[in-house]
């Protein structure tokens, strides 16, 4: 725990963490100091002057809160006439050349200029001269669209490209009221994290080409989730909306702070992976090419399982611990072998040293913890012997075909329990639609053995049940997520001390034995 200090804000005593700057320290106890340029991931820059506060007895008379560490006994003034006037004046400066095009601006509703105007400004414009005009809807590359007129020149985007991605595509060009953010001619944004700039921008200057004009942000429901785009498990907000007479649709992912996992950011690929939750979904139960009811599908799978002598079950590295456990249990029930073979989810060499992992599945650690064999040789051997092949949402051909394996699987009686249409559903005799990760609860373990739980965000018009529920309908013993845990805790040493209903918001760092560190 960090050392705590007592200080006074507007005369009231508060206890805050020492060493942090005033914005963060006082912000942690719910007192907001307005600021535009400061961002905890980018450090204090001190250029916007919006966070100027008075320190009684201190010199100089006002200081930027972003550059002032919290100290014992400090007397911080936020509500004096002087400070209020400074905030009002800074806002007036910011708005001199601002187009005030809020009705057509994507940022409206989550814009610091709007918020601060309401909180600290509320005055009419006094300007009677033409505004400075600048560039509009400039294509900065990587799906980032820039409006120079809306910009407050806080430099967060510039610092992001210099400090975080170290690609430095952006700069602040010109000076005085002609200053603006721009790319160097012919050198547009070119990094895999560029869309974070859109979140970082406190105003509507940086917008995402993908999200522009799709939704007003106040209509979006912002639920917490975890990105399943790779093994990092970045924490996200799933912003979705059910428009009248339509289905619940996800419109964007945004990174959610988790210092244990992803910090403030996420990669663009993961951010845009929300589309996969909306598109190409398996919607109908299919038996031998004919659409049928879900109940008939379950019944047929049960029949197949009862007739099969040597079934083989393929578990997905994207499924939750509970789902994987439930499938493992039902495999035992039907005397089936199970495999977690999923090299199809690995893009070797695609990862980097920041967030992106080679492994494009969210819970491979889960397979390892539950001791589910992932070897290709074991799968091939089992495949040779089996007479029924059931995939529980595992698509071995996710990134590229493998003719040999495809033929080997297609030669069997194949059942694909799947959230999406893919090669497996194509070659299956029975295809059963199930929920995808935005539509169920569960627990996953990321590449660094951080155990995280997430809850359901989206409710489709046609609700689909998840894999665990499917195993229950097939006669499995695991009733629900909570019911999976006693069994997992007794079997898996690393999970013995885990209380599933008490997993911290930031996740739980598992101490995993060396042996299980060896992975694909």
């Amino acid at each position: 725990m960090a050392e705590m200090v007592k200080l006074f804000v507007n005369g009231e005593e508060v206890e805050v963490e020492s060493g942090k700057n005033l914005i963060d320290a006082i912000g942690a106890v719910g007192i907001e100091i307005p600021h535009l340029c400061y961002h905890p991931a980018l450090g204090a820059d001190g250029n916007c002057r919006m966070c100027l506060v008075g320190i009684e007895d201190g010199r100089p008379p006002v200081v930027p809160a972003c550059k002032t560490p919290a100290r014992e006994g400090m007397r911080v003034q936020l509500d004096t006439d002087n400070i209020k006037k400074i905030q009002r004046d800074i806002m007036e400066f910011e708005l001199i050349n601002h187009p005030v095009d809020c009705p057509i601006c994507d940022q409206a509703g989550e814009c610091k200029l709007q918020d601060y105007y309401m909180a600290h400004d509320l005055q009419d414009s006094r300007m009677r001269v033409p505004q400075v005009t600048k560039g509009k809807k400039m294509d900065f590359g990587c799906g980032v669209v820039h409006d120079q007129e809306r910009c407050v020149v806080c430099g967060r985007c510039v610092r992001f490209t210099r400090q975080i991605t170290k690609t430095g595509e952006l700069g602040i060009i010109n000076r005085t009221d002609a200053a603006r953010v721009n790319i160097f001619p012919g050198r547009p944004l070119n990094n895999r994290y560029a869309l974070n700039i859109v979140d970082l921008c406190p105003v509507g200057a940086m917008t995402s080409r993908d999200f522009r004009f799709k939704q007003r942000v106040w209509f979006l429901k912002k639920d917490k989730g975890i990105c399943h785009g790779c093994a990092r498990g970045c924490n996200i907000f799933i912003d979705h909306n059910r428009e009248k007479y339509k289905d619940d649709v996800i419109y964007r992912y945004r990174p959610r702070l988790n210092s244990l996992v992803n910090g403030y950011f996420m990669c663009d690929e993961g951010r845009l992976s929300y589309k996969e939750e909306n598109e190409n979904r398996l919607t109908a139960t299919m038996i031998e090419g004919k659409e049928t009811s879900f109940e008939d599908g379950i019944q047929r799978i049960q029949q197949e399982l009862n007739q099969a002598k040597k079934p083989l079950m393929l578990i997905s590295p994207n499924s939750t611990l509970e789902q994987q456990w439930a499938v493992k249990r039902i495999a035992t029930l039907y005397g089936a072998r199970c495999s977690g073979y999923s090299e199809g989810y690995v893009k070797a060499g695609d990862g980097d040293d920041f967030l992106i992992c080679d492994d494009k599945s969210a819970n491979r650690r889960g397979l390892q913890l539950l001791d589910i064999d992932c070897e290709r040789t074991t799968l091939e051997q089992a495949l040779g012997e089996c007479d029924l092949f059931i995939s529980f949402d595992n698509d071995p051909f996710r990134f590229g075909n493998n003719e040999e394996l495809r033929n080997a699987i297609a030669a069997k009686r194949v059942i694909a329990i799947s959230s999406h249409e893919n090669t497996m559903t194509e070659i299956s005799k029975v295809a059963l639609p199930v929920a995808s990760y935005s539509e169920y609860d569960g627990t996953i373990v990321n590449i660094n053995n951080v155990l995280q739980s997430f809850t359901r965000a989206v409710r489709k018009n046609e609700e689909r049940i998840d894999i665990l529920e499917v195993t229950r309908l097939l006669g499995g013993a695991v009733r629900d997520n909570a019911h999976a845990w006693p069994g997992m805790k007794t079997t898996v040493e690393e999970l013995a001390e885990v209380h599933p209903d008490r997993i911290p918001a930031e996740g739980l760092q598992l101490s995993v034995s060396e042996e299980s560190h060896v992975s694909a």
């Binding site: 600048k134 560039g135 510039v158 490209t161 210099r162 690609t167 430095g168 595509e169 952006l170 700069g171 602040i172 060009i173 010109n174 000076r175 005085t176 009221d177 002609a178 603006r180 721009n182 790319i183 160097f184 001619p185 012919g186 050198r187």
Partner: protein, 168 residues
């Protein structure tokens, strides 16, 4: 302040000539932080070409090992860097306080009459260009005029006339 963000792309590669190359290498040793070479390198470019193109900025960035955006920032921040070709004789008249008080406007008006160009313009024959610039740091001898980088102090219309005469 005018917008200087539109760079001219010549389509031709840029490199320092042998003399500037040697000078660059001599100067770079002075700076513990290599990025500090941005301004000297911009000066060298301007000395060589008379102005600075997009290609030259990219060259400087790559040569120093910094982001092109940083060179772009510096070159557009400081108005003494020419971002377009200037006349054979580039005249800068200081427009800051001391020079203004000591009638820099008379010189500007004289040049407008004599050569027919206003600040920011180039004469049709390409021989002259005129710029009003911020403080040149010679306030004690205001008003000052720079001709191709050379200072001429305590100027007035007569002296300007004499100076132009030497150029014809």
């Amino acid at each position: 302040m005018s917008d200087r963000s539109e760079l001219i792309i010549t389509g031709k590669p840029f490199a320092f000539d042998a003399e500037r190359d040697a000078e660059f290498e001599r100067l770079v040793k002075r700076y513990p932080i290599r990025e500090s070479m941005i301004l000297p390198a911009l000066w060298l470019t301007q000395e060589q070409e008379g102005w600075i193109s997009a290609e030259a900025m990219a060259y400087i960035a790559d040569r120093i090992g910094t982001y092109a955006s940083k060179v772009y920032e510096a070159a557009t921040f400081y108005t003494m860097f020419n971002l377009e070709p200037k006349g054979q004789y580039h005249i800068c008249v200081c427009r800051t306080l001391s020079c203004w008080l000591r009638e820099k406007q008379e010189i500007v008006d004289y040049l407008a009459k004599e050569i027919g160009i206003r600040p920011g313009e180039i004469s049709e024959d390409g021989r002259f260009s005129l710029e009003e610039v911020e403080c040149l740091g010679h306030c004690g001898t205001a008003p000052v005029v720079q001709l191709n980088g050379e200072f001429h102090e305590e100027m007035d219309v007569d002296k300007m006339k004499a100076l132009l005469a030497t150029l014809k």
